[in-house]
Symmetry: C2
Subunit: 343 residues, 2 copies
DNA sequence: AGACCGCCTGTTAGCGTTATCGCCTGAGGG
DNA sequence: CCCTCAGGCGATAACGCTAACAGGCGGTCT
């Protein structure tokens, strides 16, 4: 049952291959075969070995195995702030998928968003000889860092933009933003203001592109996008500026948290949502349906992204000519924070 | 620069210790010493070796090192749903602290909250020979699983209750809940209703104890606690029941997300917050200050908890007689969701 | 002057596993 | 009857690193 407690080997230490072999009356090699290629051993012998394995509570030493095979069964995930809803969910789903396939996941958070930082993080994992790495760092500097990685190490990225040098799993940010913007225009709003994510964030850029694209295609005025930092606080601060401008009737926020801040700022300024101003968010966090009013938003399926990322990595590790990109389509979830423009 | 790309050894593969030794004109052992005990090598020799290390872009093979030293430089974190705010933040801070001390962190999420599940997760990590494990699973079944773990493997827990069999870092849930409850009573409310977390969750229990303790000490009626599942949705559903009861004037929710659901339910029922009903949450997520109204809540310093957990583990790994518990004091943050009871 | 000590470096022997090759046995074919 | 061949298993040699000991060299103490 327990890794190092019960079933100690004869030496008083955890049992090793040799102990199992001795107990089963076979050679070490046979035990190894039972564990790695069971059908190459006679059934009777196999049973005897397995009995010994159970009796001694033998667990293979992964370091020794790794040393000789070169593979570790460990994947690395390099990620920015895993406290954020998106990265946290993605990480969680990568880990789940990996676990089902027998992999363990090691993480390396980035302290700074510097190109060196990403390389350093990949190195930390590389030094632990991971079999592959998923990079969750939707940041320009990260994309830059992706260009200078060990070519032997299978690497895939998440949300690393439309022209990512490594295979990437991502939500179609442009499509999502376009959907949100079109929704607002269809309600009769003249144009849509945007509270975007931080400069240099790739998904922030993608959302801006999608938003701007629709406005331009429809021949609407394109206000300068405001830039926050994803936090509710920044949404609030920018929201106060928008609240002062009576011409603002529709706001598309780069994520739900900033949208929450915008909602609060509008409320404080006495502008009603959705009667006076419509607001759309991005992400669809579990909370968003309970904001006041419940938030219309763009749902990102992070679970899907995580799974895709893992399978892309699996392909790369198998040496297959992996697809270069898997796009996940986001959905617009219409709630009560958006309504018809007043005439 | 890159782990396996540039600076290949003479063999066309990544450089190994021997390659560095050959290039520097010393023995392998000297190279090893330069890396592990630099002051035991003459400065001049050291420089020569380091130059060779750089030239070949040598990175020690962690598997080989682990095989012979028995230590891996990897810590494991076993955690429930790392999507939840608390566990996610704790994990993040553990990783940060670990990184600063030169450790890598591997994660193992729990799929189910079963006693076997925790043991299985610890095993997965143990099989990868981690040096120690932090368990973030504030659940009764986890506490149970803690009793049957490899005694040789240093293990500490987070939020595993006041009578945890292993060293534990935790927020003083009782104190936090008591503070919230006293705050509401001090505003003149006759008693306080509670929307608690799921049964079997240890921190949910702690909060109930703290809440109940204050009510009993003050001789107030103690309503049956309602139990949600931490989600805003469950808070909303339970909130609707509370909203129907006109005697309810003060609600203490087990976390901010459920509090959000309660706020929404009250609003829909036409009961104003804080004029008719006061609401307190628990956690103080970044969003909470922007709910409507901004939520009075109990702030948990998860960063501090993560750091404590890591240092407890470090002590245990060093074989020191570690403290058995580190309590972090939560703070009451008063915002606008609580107000004086109406007479 | 000889014994001794400390500093620096090298030699040897594993750590626990799997790759590789080779041996043995028994069945089947000429 | 001998040869071949395949299945099943064992002996040996790595994998890359460090622990433990050994030795050489210069200086210090008696």
């Amino acid at each position: 049952m327990a890794t190092r407690s019960e079933g100690r080997g004869p030496r008083g230490r955890p049992a090793v291959l040799g102990d199992v072999a001795a107990l089963a009356g076979v050679s070490a090699m046979t035990v190894s075969r039972v564990l790695n290629a069971p059908d190459r051993v006679r059934a009777e012998t196999r049973e005897r070995v397995l009995a010994a394995v159970r009796e001694l509570d033998y667990w293979p030493n992964s370091a020794a195995r790794r040393l000789v095979t070169g593979r570790s069964g460990v994947l690395g995930v390099v990620s920015i702030d895993t406290t954020l809803y998106g990265p946290a969910t993605t990480l969680y789903c990568i880990e789940q998928a990996a676990r089902l396939s027998g992999y363990t996941v090691s993480i390396a958070s980035l302290s700074t968003l510097h190109r060196r930082s990403i390389q350093e993080a990949v190195h930390r994992l590389g030094a632990q000889s991971v079999d592959g790495v998923v990079i969750v760092a939707p940041h320009e500097s990260a994309a830059d860092g992706l260009l200078h990685l060990p070519p032997d190490l299978p690497v895939v990225a998440v949300d690393a933009g439309y022209d990512c040098p490594v295979p990437v799993a991502m939500v179609d940010q442009r499509a999502g933003a376009a959907r949100a913007t079109r929704h607002l225009l269809s309600l009769g709003h003249e144009t849509v203001w945007h509270v975007g994510g931080p400069v240099d964030w790739i998904d922030a850029s993608g959302r801006i592109e999608g938003w701007r694209g629709v406005l331009e295609a429809e021949g609407r005025p394109v206000p300068d996008p405001l830039r926050g930092d994803w936090s509710p606080r920044s949404g609030y601060q920018l929201g106060r500026r928008l609240a002062e401008d009576p011409s603002v009737t529709a706001v598309f926020a780069g994520n739900d948290q900033m949208a929450l801040g915008v909602l609060r700022a509008l409320r404080e300024a006495g502008r009603r949502v959705p009667e006076d101003v419509s607001v759309v968010g991005f992400d669809d966090m579990p909370e968003s349906a309970y904001y006041c009013p419940p938030l219309t938003t763009v749902r990102q399926d992070f679970r899907e992204v995580g799974r895709h990322a893992f399978h892309l990595l699996l392909d790369r590790m198998a040496g297959e000519p992996a697809e270069s990109r898997r796009l996940v389509e986001p959905d617009l979830v219409v709630r009560e924070s958006t309504g018809a423009a007043r005439r």
